[in-house]
Structures are given as structure tokens and as C-alpha cells.
């Protein structure tokens, strides 16, 4: 396999974007990515578009619209979908096309327009990602599924509601320093702990936002990367896994087996151990998800995720800085864009371009992107 580098990245403003539809959101990520790489659409050979649900934006065949409006056409485009892990699934598809020699330059465009529908409707659409025969009829919302994990985690390990809230406090602390974040403001711990309950034990500040936005990344073969940049960021590890459709069937509800598999394979492929990772982007769709990620990725032992955040080990200066861009919680979670957004942040971290959020001297970054409630899991390793 050929080496693959990320050479250009672009990121639009995440938020409740009443001023933009799917096409504009994609555009404001694609153009900066092309400029960052120093190329034009003419240099692209293919595009991968990652959008989780066309029902949100009300546009069928959305990848065709994105390909057209951003000027990728007439080069080939197609869509990759793995729910909330669509972004990294698209990066993986592009990695395969470049590493195999099929293409030399491929763009990945992650985008989602979620606020075209009401929040109660968005909750409905996301609930349909649960088993529509046996789970959906009981009205299990997305926060509901993660709340089932949280209750069990609290029971097995004594994790507290305060520890959950601390994850949100951290991510808002960093999100307040990220100009593209959806909700760039700090949240006091007391406010987070006492916030309105969405699905017990998860409150408002335990849940990610319903966001609009886009992110893009341009992948190149080694030969092309050397031609266009002196600071390529290599994709050195790609691991993936899956899990049962029905959450109740799983042997453990405090861990995601697909994530463990993805991490194992990604570390192995990159030839690294967890201690070699300098900065991590993890899928904190809910605060409990970040705590489970600490454990499943090996940042700490099973059951110690609560104390890991309480001891501020996931802040800059701790054992493993996590989501120093604000994460899904504060930066926002336009579903199909998230995995690509993680790529953008890590590329900037490894190039040293993150200003006050910079992890000094970061050389290796990890991206953890989970779809649904673990049915899709991708872990990518980026290296300077």
C-alpha cells in the first residue's frame, strides 16, 4: 500500500445556520481545503461525500448536489454513510482509493444540515437509527440509549453525575476558544450538573448539540503530497469495528466492543502504543461516551474514566488531551461532518496551528468516531 497524507483541510462555522443550506455548508469547507492544499478542483480525481441522513436536509441524492455546487463535478463523487461515523468512513474510503493507487488526489467532504427540521423531529429521525422493530416502538431517543450506558456505568463503577458533567465543562472550556464552535462559551460545573434532564441521568449539558456545518480534507499519495506541501500529515493507522443492532443484546453496556477492535487494529497498523498518542479527538456525543472512550481506547483502565476526567487528565497538560477543540459537545455535531472535523483539528494540531488550544509538540493524533450506539466505530491515527 502507498502512504497517504492529508494535505489540505477546511472547516466551516458550526452552528444553527439559518443562513445556509447543505450546499453552502459544503462550499464553505471545500474552498478553504483547496486553498490550504494549494490546488483547484481541476487537480482532484474524485470526491467522497459523507452525509448521515438525507431526511434532515430534505434532499435526495445529496452527494450529487454537494459535488455540483462545490465544483467537484464532472469528477466522480459518491456518498458514504455510517451514521455519526460517516466522516471517518469516508476518510477510510478515500484512504483506500489513494493507498491502492486508484487515485492520487481525493477530497472528502463531510456535511450535515440538521436544523431544517424541529428538534423533536430531529429526535424522531435519530431514534429511527435504533432497531425499528424492537427498540424504536419504545421511544428510545438517542440520549436514551447513552443514558442506559450511563446508568450501568454508574452502577458497575460508581461513576457520578458530577463526573459526567465535568466532561461537558472541559469541552466547553476548549470550545470557548474555537472560533468555529457552535456554542463557544464556558459552562460552570454547577449549572451543568443541575441542568434540565433529557434522559436520566443525562442532562442538557451531557448531550451534544444539533448542528449544521461542513468540513473537508484533501488526501494525496506520497508523491503528490511532496509536490504540494512541506508539512504533510500522514494517516498511519485505520481501524474499524461494529456491534449488535440491539443494544440490549450486548455482553457489556459499559464498553463498545467495536471501538476496542478499531483501536487495537489502528494502533497495530500505525505501529504505536496508546502512550505514543499526543492528542485525541473522541466522539463525545454524550458525556458518558467520552468516559467510555477513555476506557475503550486505553487512556485509562475500565471503570476509571470518571476519575480520569475528575483528575483533569484529559485537559492539556494531563495524560491525554481530549477534544481540545470543544468536541461534539461545544464545537457541535453536524453528523456527517464530525469525523472530517476531527481530521481537520488533528491536522492543525500536528502542524502546530491551534493557538491557545495547541498541544505543544504534538506528533501523533487519534480520532475516534462512533456511529449510532457503537454499530459503527472507526479509529484513525494521524502522524507528522
Amino acid at each position: 500500500m502507498r502512504k497517504v497524507a492529508v494535505v489540505g483541510v477546511g472547516h466551516g462555522k458550526f452552528g444553527k445556520r439559518t443562513d445556509a443550506t447543505l450546499r453552502e455548508l459544503a462550499f464553505e469547507a471545500v474552498i478553504p481545503a483547496l486553498e490550504d492544499a494549494g490546488i483547484t478542483q481541476n487537480d482532484l480525481e474524485a470526491g467522497v461525500v459523507t452525509i448521515a441522513g438525507e431526511e434532515f436536509a430534505g434532499q435526495g441524492a445529496p452527494s450529487a448536489l454537494v459535488g455540483d455546487y462545490t465544483g467537484i463535478q464532472p469528477r466522480p463523487v459518491f456518498r458514504v454513510e455510517s451514521a455519526c461515523a460517516s466522516g471517518t468512513a469516508g476518510l477510510k474510503a478515500a484512504y483506500g482509493m489513494v493507498s491502492s493507487g486508484l487515485h492520487d488526489i481525493v477530497i472528502v467532504v463531510g456535511v450535515e444540515k440538521m436544523n431544517a427540521v424541529s428538534s423533536v423531529r430531529a429526535t424522531e429521525l435519530m431514534a429511527r437509527a435504533g432497531d425499528t422493530r424492537w427498540e424504536y416502538p419504545f421511544g428510545v431517543s438517542f440520549p436514551g440509549f447513552y443514558a442506559l450506558f450511563a446508568t450501568r456505568h454508574m452502577h458497575e463503577y460508581g461513576t457520578t453525575k458530577e463526573q459526567l458533567a465535568m466532561v461537558g465543562v472541559k469541552n466547553h472550556y476548549y470550545g470557548a476558544r474555537n472560533p468555529v464552535a457552535h456554542l463557544p462559551k464556558e459552562i460552570p460545573l454547577e449549572e451543568a450538573v443541575n441542568a434540565m434532564i433529557i434522559a436520566w441521568p443525562l442532562g442538557l449539558y451531557d448531550c451534544c448539540l444539533i448542528s449544521d456545518g461542513g468540513a473537508a480534507a484533501i488526501l494525496m499519495s506520497e508523491e503528490k503530497a511532496r509536490e504540494y506541501t512541506d508539512t504533510p500529515v500522514w494517516i498511519t493507522g485505520v481501524g474499524s469495528g461494529s456491534d449488535t443492532m440491539m443494544v440490549a443484546e450486548r455482553p457489556s453496556l459499559t464498553s463498545l466492543s467495536g471501538v476496542k477492535r478499531a483501536a487495537r487494529d489502528a494502533y497495530k497498523m500505525a505501529g504505536i502504543e496508546v502512550k505514543d498518542v499526543d492528542v485525541a479527538e473522541v466522539h463525545d456525543c454524550f458525556t458518558i461516551a467520552e468516559i467510555m472512550a477513555y476506557e475503550d481506547l486505553g487512556f485509562c483502565k475500565a471503570g476509571e474514566g470518571g476519575t480520569f476526567i475528575e483528575d483533569k487528565q484529559s485537559y492539556i497538560g494531563g495524560a491525554m488531551p481530549v477534544n481540545v477543540d470543544g468536541g461534539l459537545k461545544s464545537k457541535g455535531h453536524p453528523i456527517g461532518a464530525t469525523g472530517v472535523s476531527q481530521c481537520v483539528e488533528l491536522v492543525k494540531q500536528l502542524r502546530g496551528e491551534c493557538g491557545e488550544r495547541q498541544v505543544e509538540g504534538a506528533e501523533i493524533g487519534l480520532s475516534h468516531n462512533v456511529g449510532q450506539t457503537g454499530q459503527f466505530a472507526n479509529v484513525l491515527i494521524y502522524s507528522r
Binding site: 423533536v120 431517543s141 443514558a147 442506559l148 434532564i197 440490549a248
Partner: protein, 131 residues
């Protein structure tokens, strides 16, 4: 007969048989005659390719985990708040359903029982109740 508070799936033979069990007050599961895996809710096929047979479950379970849904999906919003629970049965299988109990008196490990509940003439579901 349709299953669940809300649904939009067509009724396959497996669902018809499950619903029929419920109308008789029974919780039915399927079991693979080849690898012995038990499926609750029932599946018509085992991934190993073996044939499945129907068995009646002992409806008593332990509360494995739960949540109280305050902000519900659109189609079921009029029922909120409600408790969603996963019970674990004596043979180790687990199933998700609503739990009808005081949300402030829930405890992981408490004894519960899964019961059919006829919602109207054409609609049935299951619910956990404390024992």
C-alpha cells in the same frame, strides 16, 4: 395485531407468532436447534444458519439498566416521561421495554416481570412491572 406503541414495520410471521403469544399472556422467544442460542425478542433466523424453534420464557427478570426519557421522539412524545428499561432473564438474555414504576424508586438489580399489555383492539406491547 400490531406490536408496540408506535411502529411502521410490516408484520412478518415471526411478529405474528410473538403477538399471538402475547394475547395468550405468554412471552415467547426463539431458540436455535443447532447452536442453542436464545433470541428475545425473537428472530426467525439464527446467524449460524440453524433452524429456530419457539420456547416460552420465564417472564421474571432483573433490572439491568434504565433511563427516564423526558424529551421523547415526536411519534411518542405524548407518553413522556416514561422509563425505558433493559431486563435480564434467568437464561441471560435481555430485552428492552418500558418499566411501569415510580422513577424515583428504581434500582439496578431490582426484580421485575415482563408482561403483555393490550393497548387497543389491534395493538399490543410488553411492559416491565416491579415484582
Amino acid at each position: 395485531m400490531d406490536f408496540g406503541y408506535v411502529n411502521w414495520s410490516t408484520n412478518t410471521a415471526v411478529v405474528e407468532k410473538w403477538n399471538e403469544g402475547l394475547t395468550q399472556g405468554k412471552i415467547m422467544a426463539t431458540r436455535c436447534t443447532s447452536c442453542q442460542q436464545v433470541f428475545l425478542p425473537p428472530r426467525g433466523h439464527c446467524p449460524c444458519g440453524g433452524d429456530v424453534e419457539w420456547i416460552e420464557m420465564n417472564p421474571e427478570a432483573e433490572l439491568f439498566t434504565y433511563t427516564v426519557i423526558m424529551f421523547a421522539p415526536e411519534s411518542i412524545a405524548d407518553r413522556a416521561p416514561y422509563v425505558v428499561a433493559i431486563g435480564q432473564f434467568e437464561n441471560g438474555v435481555r430485552m428492552l421495554a418500558h418499566l411501569f414504576a415510580n422513577p424515583n424508586a428504581l434500582k439496578v438489580g431490582m426484580k421485575v416481570k415482563l408482561k403483555p399489555e393490550q393497548l387497543d383492539k389491534n395493538r399490543i406491547t410488553v411492559k416491565y412491572v416491579p415484582v
